[in-house]
Structure formats: C-alpha cells, structure tokens
C-alpha cells in the first residue's frame, strides 16, 4: 500500500492546475419525481482530486442529488432533471450521451453494502468483463483489492462468497469493485451509515488514499465525517411547503470545508452545524 507522503508528492509534482480542473459544473439543477420538486437550485463546481461532501438534514435530497451525477435517477421512471450538469465540459444529459458510458466513468458506492451474491473474485471480475477490461483479470482484481485495503484480509480465499464478509469488508469490496473499472469519479452515498466506527474510520482513510487518483463526492448525514474527510462541503437544507407539505431540498452554502464549519456565511448553515436543528 502506498503511503500518504507519496501522494502528497505526486499531487505537488503534477501541479496545481489539475486540482483546479472542474469535473462537474452543476447549473441550477433541480430534480422532480413526477410533479414533486425534490431538489432545486443546485449550482456548484466540483474540483478534480478533491473530496466534496454533501451534508444536510434527512429528506433534503442529498441522495437524489448525488444520483444525478451518474444518471442513476434515469432508472426511476418518474424522475426528471432541470438545469444542466456538465461533466468535464460535456452536458451529462445531452441526448447523445449514453448513460451506460457515464456510469462506467463515474462509479458509485451505495449506502448499504451491496456486493453481488457471488464470490469475492467474481464481484470485481464482473465489472471488468462488462467493460472489456478482461485481459489479466487476476492482476486487476488484486490491484483493486489492494487499493481498497482489503487484499490482506481476503487474499487466501477469493472464492469465498462476498456475502460472508463483514459489513465493513463488504463496503470495501464495493469500493474495490468500483475502482477496478478505472473510473474518473467515485460517488459515495452515505457509505458508512451501515458501519461501525472502526469500519468507518477505515473507509475514511481509504478515501484519503484514493483522492490522488479519483475525484470523490460523498453524501453523509454525519457532520463530523464531512469535517474530517472532505475538502469542500455543500450544505443542503429542506423547505416544507405550507400548503401541501411537500419537501424540497435546496443548496444553502458551498465552500471550503474548513470555512463552512468554522465560519459559515449563512445562518442556516450555522444553525445546522452547531446542532440547533436537523
């Protein structure tokens, strides 16, 4: 496993311009489920090789929002999106864009670990096969498991069913599965919410490790986690319509994590991070 020092050097060597690359540019993005507006007014730039956290109270549409970035919301028939999301300058929702290709480049890790009901090896090999990366599968599986800090625990028995692993191991397997297909971005939708603190700490370390190679976007309901792990933080809140009770999430503040947690510019952010609501 590489040490963090090497990462720092590498990032420094590659220079600042890469860090300033905008991977995603969301312009006034909103998501509807049928007639109901679930999220609105999301305008933010997401930088390459940064960890961007999305925080906010329950029901503010964090998960809905993150699923826009790899077009997972396409799988919900009633969902539709307003505004524009640019991925490295390309409109993600352009008619010519193939969502399958989008998801190949923008991987995702889910709230609940969801390994396939197959062996550890098969879990990673599946993504390789469908993406045409089926040369030297053994090496690629090993590399992915090492990158996800799972190799030492599973190398003796890769044929073991993935569902026999512990929750934390399963989630690291899901991360290994996602990085095996060499994505550009990894979206993480509350990846630690089903894990104990030790497993959570391992995933957080892992995110820092992976930052040099990938851009990471994480949804979390855990403010401490966002503060510990992220470079940038977006705070969403929820508006309840007095007439019909529909809840709509909106972006309140998006800034450097340090700034947002120590000196928020919006009083709603301050109220949330100091624990006065949510």
């Amino acid at each position: 496993m590489k040490t963090p020092e090497i990462h720092v050097e590498r990032r420094a060597a590659e220079g600042t311009p890469r860090v300033n690359d905008v991977v995603f540019r969301a312009v006034d993005v909103g998501v509807r489920y049928g007639e109901t507006l679930a999220v609105r007014g999301i305008t933010m730039d997401i930088q390459a090789h940064q960890i961007t956290a999305i925080i906010g109270p329950s029901g503010c549409g964090k998960s809905t929002l993150i699923r826009c970035f790899n077009r997972m919301n396409d799988l919900i028939p009633s969902a539709s999106i307003d505004g524009q999301i640019l991925y490295r300058g390309h409109d993600l929702y352009d008619a010519a864009v193939d969502p399958v290709e989008v998801r190949r480049r923008i991987g995702m890790v889910f709230q609940k670990p969801n390994p396939f009901p197959k062996s550890i090896f098969e879990n990673i090999a599946f993504g390789l096969k469908i993406n045409g990366l089926d040369d030297s599968v053994d090496d690629r599986v090993e590399t992915a498991l090492k990158r996800a800090a799972l190799w030492d625990e599973v190398k003796k028995d890769l044929k073991k069913p993935a569902l026999a692993l512990s929750g934390g191991q399963q989630q690291r397997l899901c991360i290994a599965r996602a990085i095996a297909v060499q994505p550009d971005v990894i979206l993480m939708d509350e990846p630690c919410s089903a894990l104990d603190p030790i497993a959570t700490a391992r995933i957080e370390d892992l995110m820092r490790e992976l930052q040099s190679d990938y851009t990471i976007l994480i949804v979390t309901h855990n403010m401490q986690q966002a503060a510990r792990v992220s470079d940038m933080t977006a705070f969403l809140t929820v508006e309840v319509d007095e007439r019909d009770g529909t809840r709509t999430g909106l972006l309140v503040e998006y800034d450097k994590t340090e700034k947002l947690f120590t000196n928020p510019s919006d009083e709603r952010t301050e109220a949330y991070i100091t624990g006065r609501f949510g």
Binding site: M108, F110, N114, P115, F126, G127, L163
Partner: protein, 292 residues
C-alpha cells in the same frame, strides 16, 4: 419486596391455559387430517403395488393378463412428453417472466396480461386438451404425437412457471441491479448476468411445481387423443404415445381385480419418477440458493 409470584399471578390462569390447549388441539387435528389421509393412501398403494413391482413391470408391454402387463410404453411416453414439455415451457415461461418484470412498461396492457396469466393458471386442464387438439393436432398437423402432447402440457404449466418466475425476479433486491448499473452495465448485462442467476433458485421452485403437475395430468392428454393401450415405445417426436396416468386409469377401470395391483404398481412408478425429478430440481435449487 412482595413475593413476585403473588404479584404476577392471576385468578383465571387455569381457564386461560385450558383455552390455549384447546386451540393447540384444534391445530394439531387439522394437521393430522391432512397427514393421516396422505399416509393411508401411500400405505395402501404401496401394500398393493410393491409386491407386483419387478424389473419386468418396467420392461414389459401392456397385456390383457394382469400379471403380465407392464408399464414400459407408459413410462417412456411420460418421460418423452415431460422432456418436450420442459424444453418448451421453461425457456418460454422464464422469458415471459423476465420480460414482464424487467422490460414491460407498467400500464393497462401489462396489467391485463398479468390478470390473464393468473386466470390461465386456474383454467381446467381439459380445456388445454381441447386447445392442444385444435392447435397442435389439427392446425399444425402434428397428429396425436409426443410433440403435440408435450406442447399441450407445456401450455398448461406455462402460467405456473411465469408466476413463480416473476416472484423470483421480484425477490432479487433492487440494490443488486443498482450495483450492476453503477458499474456501467447495460440492461441486458444486468438482467442476464446478475438478476437471472440470482433468481435461479426461485425459477427452480416453479419448474418443480410445473413438472409435478404435468406428470400427473391425464385429462388433456386423453382429450387430445393419446392412446390408452400401446404395444410400442415412442422413438421420435412424431410417434404416438401413452402416459403413466393414462395407463393407470386404464388399469383401474378393468373389471378383473388383479389389475388393481397392476394399477397400484403403476402409481408407485409414477411417484418414483415424480420424486426423482423433484429431487433433481431441489438439488439444483439448493446448489444455487443464496441469502442476502
């Protein structure tokens, strides 16, 4: 502290316990009625049939003498039509189930299809015999052949396979599909490599039910004109045939009492075939059984 027994005791404890026992007794009785009648039936059949069983019984053709009659053509006929039936109904039924669950757009049309498939499962089997007669025997001019018989039974069990197949697909957690999509797989890759393998044990349950039903069906085969007294074994799809339940029915309707033993022996053979097929299907199911 007061004695807990006094505090937690209650005056009508005896009455309550009697009521508990009464209901337990009722439930056991219900169970007993079912099990006892099944056991009686099995014991009766085995006692009459087993002494009559011999290797000759499986290798001899029917005869008008009860002690010489064998079930060879019926056994072979049954195996032939079950093979045709399975080869037809399993791929078609699972294909239909996958389409309905994964591809069909929810709406009036798919609801209509859904209701109709459920209804088809309840249609009396003799109606399928008429259908087979009209379509396979006459329209497709397959004659009263193994092929026509197998396809008729295939139609009969199709709804069972479709319904069980849909249940199995629905039981695959959506998170598995999401995981596959998130890795950049197409719909077909997701369905064929993750959903179908994960639903396989459930498919097997439907197939077991279907084969068991098809093996025991008599009415549709008689309706479409299967033979009742055959002295040859089918050697191809277009040969005529008889089947075990038809043969058993034929023997039981003979006046000579010796044929009762022959019929019982036939039933034992049918049961053995049935249990063997179910055992194979259950083995396959257990091999692929998964938990999440």
């Amino acid at each position: 502290m007061a004695a807990p027994a006094a505090v937690l005791g209650s005056a009508d404890r005896g009455a309550r316990r009697r009521r508990e026992r009464f209901f337990l007794g009722l439930l056991l009785l219900a169970l007993l009625i079912g099990v006892a009648s099944l056991v009686t039936l099995l014991v009766d059949v085995l006692r009459t049939g087993v002494p009559r069983l011999s290797l000759d019984f499986l290798t001899e053709f029917p005869s008008r003498f009860a002690e010489r009659a064998g079930a060879k053509p019926a056994l072979y006929g049954s195996l032939w039509i079950i093979s045709v039936c399975t080869l037809f109904s399993v791929p078609v039924g699972i294909g239909a189930a996958v389409y309905l669950e994964e591809y069909a757009k929810p709406g009036r049309l798919s609801r209509l299809i859904e209701v109709n498939i459920s209804n088809l499962a309840g249609v009396p089997s003799i109606i399928y015999g008429l259908l087979g007669l009209a379509i396979f025997v006459r329209l497709f001019a397959l004659g009263r052949s193994v092929l026509a018989g197998g396809l008729t039974l295939g139609l009969l069990v199709l709804p069972v396979i479709v319904i069980a197949g849909r249940e199995a697909i629905r039981a695959v957690p959506p998170s598995i599909r999401e995981a596959a999509y998130a890795l950049g797989s197409t719909k077909w890759q997701t369905v064929s490599r993750q959903v179908i393998p994960a639903a396989l044990p459930g498919f097997m349950t439907g197939i077991i039910l279907a084969i068991s039903r098809a093996l025991g069906e008599t009415a549709p085969l008689i309706t479409m004109g299967a033979l009742t007294f055959v002295s040859f074994v089918p050697s191809g799809l277009l040969d005529r045939f008889t089947a075990l339940p038809i043969q058993i029915f034929n023997w039981t309707s003979r006046p000579q009492s010796a044929f009762q033993a022959t019929a019982a022996a036939g039933i034992v053979v049918l049961l053995v075939v049935l249990l063997t097929m179910n055992a194979i299907a259950i083995l396959i199911r257990n091999r692929y059984e998964r938990k999440w």
